[in-house]
């Protein structure tokens, strides 16, 4: 009897405490605008720092915060209030967070979430609201082709953007004729491969096999052992831990020494290179992306050294793109003397920014709000005890349409599982 009374009292007390804490917490969450003494530049950052994409989300936040701390949280002369919300890599959560940031926190600028499906989830809502949104990582092609909006700015890349020059490079420089491909079975994989296939076949190459494996496949052995051996190279496009698992399987089954491995930009992203089982799993892989930690330009070296000093690792492309994003916003706000409340002027300024000296090189926008920038062919090398992307070739002024006229390019469908079709598949 006595212990029941004790338990009941404890429970009532606990509820009261919880209620009080909840009240205090809710109080803290009232639109912070009212509590702020001086008007701040509010940036809503939808991060994915938990869940399966946590490492990349973490890099994104780190890169952005590094720029902010270099500028003492002042962008363009305005004090920045960075409101970070975790979406956990789930599209529905990204939408809920976007609602909170726009309706509750009244942010001046929203940073788009990482994944394409999250970006699509928030797209309609943000387009309707008109809040400026900056895409730094989400690379779904169509977001700046058919499904763009006036208030969207992309400073990252589009999935097929680096693949177009790389396809040409593989055919004309590496002189590959027949390639087998293996990739993760979802939109990003289709778009990265699609761009490569288009230009590779345009220059006389042939894709003779296409294998698709579900995202998050634990065991790549059934796929690796299916790859055709009568090819000049294997093109792989995976993300996250699948990259590591595939690279390991590729070597374990003896293919690494026999058939060169090339792939989409993320195949050798710095965040994954450091997780490879053995250096030999990754050395020699050729990829193409707008960033490489092994870039030797002054701006790149400065950024890489500073990032290493702060975080003790090489910056991945997620970190660089967010750092440069910070630089972009800084420049835009400076040009309008900090008047971020004038939404139209702010957007116009964001669209007009040109960065000649970002860590990745020069960046400016095309008329579809997507960046025009360098694309680097990178080779993974083992130097001083770590794996590094060294640049072996540079393409300048690459847009999302490559050498095609936008109108022509937009006539073809979005790169898909079945487009371009595999005409030479045996």
């Amino acid at each position: 009897m006595a212990h029941r009374i004790v338990r009941r009292t404890l429970l009532k007390g606990g509820l009261a405490l919880a209620g009080a804490t909840a009240a205090r917490a809710l109080d803290r969450l009232r639109p912070v605008v009212y509590a702020q003494p001086a008007p701040a530049f509010r940036i809503g950052f939808i991060a994915d720092i938990t869940g399966n994409v946590a490492p990349s989300g973490r890099d994104m936040l780190d890169g952005f915060q590094m720029y902010l701390s270099e500028k003492n949280s002042m962008l363009g002369g305005k004090q920045v209030q960075l409101i970070v919300e975790d979406a956990g890599g789930v599209p529905a959560n990204a939408l809920t967070k976007a609602r909170k940031l726009i309706e509750q926190d009244r942010v001046h600028l929203l940073t788009a979430p990482l994944l394409a499906n999250e970006a699509y989830a928030v797209r309609d809502y943000v387009a309707e609201r008109g809040t400026p949104m900056i895409y730094m990582v989400a690379s779904a092609d169509d977001l700046t082709q058919r499904k763009g909006a006036p208030n969207f700015v992309r400073t990252g890349w589009s999935s097929s953007q680096p693949s177009h020059p790389f396809g040409e490079y593989a055919a004309t420089e590496l002189k590959y004729k027949r390639i087998a491909t293996i990739g993760s079975d979802y939109a990003f994989g289709y778009e990265v491969l699609g761009g490569f296939q288009k230009t590779f076949e345009l220059h006389g190459g042939q894709i003779v096999q296409k294998i698709w494996a579900p995202l998050g496949t634990p065991d790549w052995s059934p796929y690796v052992t299916q790859l055709r051996r009568d090819v000049d190279a294997v093109y792989a496009v995976q993300v996250g831990v699948d990259v590591i698992r595939f690279a390991k399987a590729y070597r374990q089954y003896g293919l690494k020494d026999k058939i060169p491995l090339i792939g989409g930009g993320l195949q050798s992203d710095e965040s994954l290179l450091r997780g490879m089982g053995a250096p030999e799993d990754a050395t020699g892989i050729l990829t193409c992306l707008h960033w490489a930690a092994g870039l030797t330009t002054l701006a790149a070296r400065k950024f890489v050294d500073a990032y290493n000093a702060k975080y003790k690792k090489d910056p991945s492309y997620y970190a660089e793109t967010n750092y440069t994003g910070g630089m972009w916003i800084d420049t835009a706000v400076q040009r309008i003397d900090g008047k971020v409340d004038d939404r139209a002027a702010f957007l116009r300024s964001m669209l007009a920014v040109q960065l000649p000296n970002a860590p990745r090189g020069p960046v400016r926008l095309d008329s579809y709000h997507n960046p025009i920038q360098n694309e680097y062919v990178r080779k993974v090398e083992y130097r001083n005890g770590r794996l590094v992307n060294t640049v072996i070739h540079t393409f300048h002024n690459v847009s999302q349409f490559w050498t095609f006229a936008p109108a022509e390019f937009l006539k073809q469908p979005v790169y898909d599982r079945n487009y371009p079709p595999c005409r030479y598949c045996g």
Binding site: P55, P218, T225, G275
Partner: protein, 286 residues
């Protein structure tokens, strides 16, 4: 498709199945025998792998990494069982909530302590090579996993079926009242079995960490697989867990190799079918 294709895929499937069995062996003890719905089992895998990774980085001794990972997590298991789970004996829903809470906690703490980047436990040099027979290529590490899986099965089976300790465990699990009446310290037996189950999960984590890499989310990736294998094999049946794991490994592998377009279904569709046909699992005691 020549004979070499079938041999290759069979070996692939068996090695994946063996890894699944290593994971499932611990859960067979915890869920199959003790009927504790331990949602934190995936976390045991993850934590064991991370601890093993750190030990491997400091010492480079693979067996030590396995032991250290196993011991650390066994300790966690003891704490969880003694102080939290014991009072919810045979109450599934509270067990689910409790262990899920722990799973979230462990998952986040692992992210905090080891960071988010996926990492791979370096395979010891002696196991880094491969066996080549004609056109069949077989990585040594995978053979190692099969060997370890079989050893664990034999060891556990001998323990449970042929030793006095095993008889004590089976008695305590089947009928706690009676066992207590016979003077068996049921509480201590339960804690011991739970700790062993946690140890096996963690050791599986270290072995898997060299194979599948460790990353935030690995805990929730292996969890459904492990539960499915244990239950598909039949609750309480160690033999069922082994057959179930190997079956899943082979079906998944051949499915992906022969029908790559159906890859999303090769893991779970066969399980659903097997359970639809035999609702108490392959060797379940119902």
């Amino acid at each position: 498709m020549g004979a070499s294709f079938y041999v290759q895929q069979a070996l692939n499937g068996l090695s994946f199945g063996a890894l699944l069995f290593l994971l499932a062996s611990g859960l067979t003890l915890i869920f199959g025998l003790m009927r504790v719905a331990n949602i934190a089992h995936g976390s045991y895998y993850l934590l064991g792998a991370y601890v093993g990774l750190s030990v491997m980085r400091w010492t480079g001794v693979f067996p030590l990494a396995i032991l250290a990972g196993g011991a650390a997590v066994a300790l966690i298991g003891i704490v969880m069982q003694r102080w939290f789970l014991a009072r919810f004996h045979q109450q599934t829903l509270p067990q689910v909530l409790l262990t899920m809470g722990f799973a979230f906690f462990f998952s986040d703490q692992a992210l905090l302590l080891w960071g988010g980047d996926p990492q791979t436990i370096p395979v010891p040099k002696v196991l880094a090579g491969a066996l080549v027979l004609g056109s069949v290529y077989f990585p040594a590490y995978r053979l190692f996993v099969i060997a370890v899986g079989l050893c664990v099965f034999v060891g556990l089976w001998l323990l449970l079926e042929r030793t006095r300790l095993g008889a004590t465990v089976r008695a305590a699990v089947d009928d706690a009242e009676m066992a207590r009446g016979l003077g068996i310290n049921v509480g201590r037996v339960m804690t011991g079995v739970f700790a062993l189950g946690a140890f096996l999960a963690a050791a599986g984590g270290v072995m898997g960490g060299a194979f599948l890499s460790i990353y935030p989310g690995a805990d929730f990736d292996v969890l459904p697989l492990t539960f499915v294998v244990v239950i598909m094999g039949g609750l309480g049946s160690l033999k069922g867990a082994l057959i179930g794991s190997l079956l899943v490994g082979l079906l998944d592998n051949f499915g992906k190799a022969l029908f790559p377009e159906l890859s999303y279904f090769t893991l779970f569709a066969p399980m659903a079918l097997i359970l639809a046909v035999r609702p108490t699992g392959l060797f379940g005691r119902g």
